[in-house]
Symmetry: C2
Subunit: 320 residues, 2 copies
């Protein structure tokens, strides 16, 4: 019965109590109310030790990230977050680990007014599945299949920062002061929820970049039956990303590394002024990087107009 | 990118397509519609290899059981099932395993008109998290805290069958013909969805018996601030359960073994005739086993009126 004590001790009262929660953690099911006129957006994502994070990874960051990657999926639909459930498989019941995990999860949940409404704690290899629920006005969700030829392609924030953090400190030709920033980009990504909701009435299609720009924009291309042309010089990068590029000339960091959780959206050209006015209010920024085209595949052009050949392995899978 | 192929190959079109699914598997989120006047019931449960099932367990049965244990939670709320998501962590991509797992999941999903609307496939130790969503008329859900003193306690089906199957074939003093039945009770439990919905307007409280009767009725007692008195002779058992009891005289099989996924409900005495009329239509049966009392703890009385002393470890946790 330790399981129940665990759940109560660390996961009761995670996130604010919301009026639309009729019954939260502690019964066979949670009971929830979806507002009239809203559709329910649901997503589930799992983090596995040894695959998504190393043994001994900071539990507070894991708590943050396990929720953040799911909120990022809600952001990519233009949804307003509401509730989460947590299925936590643990090798043992370490109260310090649990307290830190719960703290990381709770802080992000509180920041976005998300309530933890249910869960399951089991013993086994460390595996964290979070499901997030949000609302979107009926018919206004940002889907992957909403891009049209001529739509402009935008991304929020900067690309490649989490990828740099993953390469290890000693391998990065970046200013030393950038390291905490890069670690935070990898371990505590910011879901672009405000940006996604603001773009929901304007963008044609959206996705969050979890597997790298080429791979994820590739999903928009596939779902919309299109291709895209990107201008490499326009790809937004942090000072650390620029330093890497200066040193290596390797665009694949920006094109193919994952875990950034930025949004990639397509915007009809007529909406460009409105979107760019709106984006002036985005703290993370929004950068136009290319255009959707009828021809399948993603082409990456250098400033001189020459095309980059297959920038990475990920690229091949989605370019034809 | 194998991950996407996997998901598409084995999990597209699992369960019927429902009209309330605006967008299913394949985008950042599923988009779903909850009918007006209904509350959303949500539950999540995880099965871990080596904890909930042995290495090499039949994948078709696992697919069934992973969904069944969640549908059982919906049944215990009196909810009508609608959608499921699946987070599947796998050591490798074995197409035979995946096909069989998907088949077991799909058949049960089809039987209860449940659509798989999303999921995540990751590499790692075999871990299966399913989240199920259902609807319940606002204010009519069966909660754990709805029992009152004097309420009669009922259970569906028979108790201890999954527990017998777990003890291993050679240890069961049961007719040989019972073994396939016992295995099926353990590996392919039937969620009591029809029974739960039928009882939703009549019962005071309900729970599904996953951890054993004493443990789970204990949750109703705690949530309702009550205790209970059970009549041991009334506990429903299969021929195999009766054979075990005749041989061993050990009531703990019926009281404390888990994995049966029967419902335990409390019924106000005034509703007894109506409930028993209704239960005449339950194929699995519904048996009155005791009564809720103001005094905390669960007392188990033999036919001669003497009280059974602590029938199992699980008992201690919830008897005081």
């Amino acid at each position: 019965m330790k399981e129940f004590e665990l759940i109560h001790r660390f996961f009761d009262g995670v996130g604010p109590w919301r009026d639309d929660v009729r019954l939260g953690v502690g019964d066979d099911c949670a009971l929830l109310r979806v507002p009239a006129g809203k559709e329910l957006a649901v997503t589930i994502d799992t983090l596995v030790e040894g695959v998504h994070f190393h043994q001994g990874a900071d539990p507070e960051s894991l708590g943050h990230k396990a929720l953040a990657v799911n909120l990022s999926d809600l952001a990519a639909m233009g949804a307003e977050p509401a509730w989460a459930t947590l299925a936590l498989t643990l090798p043992g019941a370490d109260p310090h680990w649990l307290a830190a995990f719960s703290r990381g999860f709770s802080r992000l949940a509180a920041a976005y007014h998300v309530q933890l409404v249910g869960g399951d704690t089991t013993r086994g290899p460390l595996t964290i599945s979070v499901q997030a629920h949000g609302f979107v006005t009926a018919g206004r969700a940002l889907r992957r299949d909403g891009a049209r030829p001529g739509d402009l392609v935008y991304v929020t924030g900067t690309l490649g920062d989490a990828g740099l953090a993953l390469r290890g400190i000693e391998d990065i030709p970046a200013p030393a002061g950038c390291l905490p920033y890069l670690q935070s980009r990898l371990q505590r990504p910011s879901p672009r929820l405000g940006e996604g909701r603001a773009l929901a009435g304007l963008a044609g299609a959206a996705i969050d970049i979890s597997d790298g720009l080429i791979s994820d924009l590739g999903h928009i291309c596939e779902a919309s039956g299109l291709g895209a042309r990107l201008e490499l010089e326009r790809l937004p990068r942090s000072p650390a990303g620029q330093a890497w590029l200066d040193e290596t000339g390797d665009w694949s960091l920006l094109l193919s590394s994952g875990d950034d959780y930025e949004l990639c959206v397509t915007v009809p050209p007529g909406r460009q002024p409105e979107v760019e006015r709106l984006a002036a209010g985005f703290e993370c920024g929004l950068t136009r990087i290319g255009v959707m085209e009828p021809r399948p595949g993603i082409r990456c052009l250098r400033a001189d107009g020459t095309e980059l050949e297959k920038p990475s392995r990920g690229y091949e899978h989605f370019s034809s």
